[in-house]
Amino acid sequence: MITSGHLLSINDLTRDGAFEVLDTARELSRITDGAIKKLPTLRGRTVVNLFFEDSTRTRLSFEAAAKRLSADVINFSAKGSSVSKGESLKDTAQTLEAMGAELVIVRHGSSGAAARLAQSGWIKSHVVNAGDGMHEHPTQALLDAYTIREHFPEHDRDFTGLRIGIVGDILHSRVARSNALLLTSLGAQVVLIAPPTLIPIGVSSWPVEISYDLDAEIESLDAIMMLRVQSERMNDAFFPSEREYARGYGLGAERVNAMKERAIIMHPGPMNRGLEISASSADSERSVILEQVSNGVLVRMAVLYLLMGGTAIPTEGVLV
């Protein structure tokens, strides 16, 4: 179980806790596969999507997850709100809690925003980090781990022996950090592949390998995770031209053909087709990009369910 009542970072989860989320998501997928599309579990409870940054799939995915558990969802996006009048994170969050929010899903451009919200004592709600600056995006890492696990059933309880490449804009990527932490804690070997300018300082403390050469690594990878080149965060010249980036680190047909037989292609979305991933690779048989989206809803349902449970100590037999 997630003991802190929040999911701010992958570090909030032990290895067993991570498997608990993944197992719960798998059972939810079995339940919602058939006739049942909606479960009554969180009926009457309110979840807020507090989004200070643009997002399509993460916000929709959390919303879908909450609705499939019958929770009420309030969507908040900074654009068109009082945030543009200068309202602070604290006041916004307290306002939403006063309206009955019990769990806040927050995305913010500043690293640590979710932790601030959870730990400052401003609000009593559970907090789920849906991406904070260049720091972490734990539910994305969980859905990626879920997707990898479904494709490698022989690694169901242990990712040891899987080699996973994360390619591209590591510097600006919260997805890369969360994934590196989670996948290595599950036992996988993670290699970050990027031009030196897009590797963050301090990466030596991460439990990963670093490579600057995609072609040297491609044949050894079981899964390749292409990261979006985050032009909106790039206020410097990190590479000479888009064409040169695509040639060095883009995933085109030739590289796809060099991959292991069962290797899969992942992308957290949104994709820059033609830059980090070619259209043919994104649509190839190896691509699991749409599965990642469906799995995202399941994993987020699991997180909401596990966070919103009570805390009383179970008494044997009382509710049998």
Partner: protein, 173 residues
Amino acid sequence: MSVVLDQSEIDRSLKRIAHEIIERNHGLDSVILLGIPTRGVTLAQRIGSFLAQIDTQVPVGSLDITMYRDDLRLRPPRPLVPTQIPAEGLEGKNLVLVDDVLFSGRTIRAALDAIGELGRPKTVQLAVLIDRGHRELPIRADYVGKNIPTNARESVRVQLREIDSLDQVEVTL
């Protein structure tokens, strides 16, 4: 602590329940058994094998009701366990729910909600190994292994050899 049912008594109770199921449904056409995890599933399988000995084989499945409980606020979330609905579905069946202990009735209410999502059985019947009283909802069992009057603070512990390596029901304070 006192043992209220031992292995042979559990066997006899389940065999009797099997006979009663046949009697009440005039045979086993369109009867299916659904056990409520964990021990309800084991009991459903045992009743199923008695039915097969006496008459004929019926489909046996399991129904996890965790997501339908109304006490999520009060208790830590429980791990989910598989729900297996027999391939022929529930539509028009005489569905027998099987659980180990009937107490407040809330588990059965949750199970009825879950069944409502899955289809429309012709009838829903309830078989339990132990009925210990203290109902909080208007729910009763159709087939009861043994009625055990209990104090609300006592707990009833059902152990089955498939899970607990012995067959025994005990009441502890």
